[in-house]
Symmetry: C2
Subunit: 151 residues, 2 copies
DNA sequence: TTCAATCATTGACATTCTCAACGACCGGTG
DNA sequence: CACCGGTCGTTGAGAATGTCAATGATTGAA
């Protein structure tokens, strides 16, 4: 079985083989690159994820919190920020007057299109050490890990 | 080229294909599982990483901060916590009296051995959706991403 | 000997996470 | 119809974490 045993020590032997440690580091790198790519649009990866759902799904805030694994109170602040800029709006759910449906405005859709390109560019940069096939394989593996709890 | 286009929507089409988003979610899952596995030992993944370096490397606090990408002030607090429990100690660097070398005590080495097993168990749990070969492949890909800045 | 740079430390500050509470509203029961 | 446990969005507090500036002690080089 191939392991990291024959590889040079990068941080420490135990941590070099610890996937949670590697995931944390890779995630931090990707988040930094993503935030940098989005900074010119006044977004961060977190607000971008809310904008993406508003543009592509149109969920209630409750659904939004579950999908993004955020506390409902965090969703309030994030939607507030996007709504003040006219990027999303809260619509009443005709079937449940407690719920607020978050949908992107035309301005929000336009910014989302640009933000998605910016994120894609940052991803190409972050993934530069990998070949095309490896990038696809990584995405597949990560989806199976990250979405393991969905069915 | 294989993409996520033919896969069911999990969160949103854009986010399902966003590696930074998937990395963040997988990292959060792994960190939660790791913290749960370490909770009985009075450790978290962060303090565990410091203990691992103290046990396997014995670096200065400066070196420790660079390896773990932490602010030096965070290292102070983390080493304080471990030192108060008698798990590590600060030794003087004979070649530089400003530096403090962090090394694990016998108690720290013993706890590290148990913590490493606990982390391995959590990792097996987190990686359950993947085959053995896929787990190895994921570790390889993550190392190349996370350590891309080291040569 | 002098001086800029480095190390560990302290403290302040912003950001983020987590949790409890509340009014408004839902669905079901009597 | 009136009630009532549960849900949704919201507010606010507290903890945890990240980031940054300043300082005393020490280093290495001019």
């Amino acid at each position: 079985m191939a392991t990291a045993d024959d590889a040079p020590v990068r941080v420490s032997p135990a941590l070099d083989a610890d996937t949670s440690f590697l995931l944390a580091r890779a995630s931090a790198l990707a988040a930094t690159a993503g935030n940098r790519a989005l900074s010119g649009l006044g977004l961060k990866v977190r607000s971008y994820s809310v904008l993406a759902l508003a543009a592509e799904v149109g969920p209630s805030q409750r659904d939004l919190a579950e999908r993004l694994r955020l506390d409902p109170s965090q969703v309030v602040a994030l939607v507030d920020g996007l709504e003040e800029r006219g990027l999303v709006e809260r619509r009443l759910d005709p079937s449940d007057r407690r719920a607020r449906i978050v949908v992107a405005t035309p301005e929000g859709l336009a910014l989302f299109a640009r933000a998605r390109e910016a994120i894609a560019g940052a991803q190409r940069e972050t993934h530069a050490p990998l070949t095309e096939e490896e990038q696809v394989a990584l995405g597949d593996l990560l989806r199976r890990l990250a979405y393991a709890d969905l069915q």
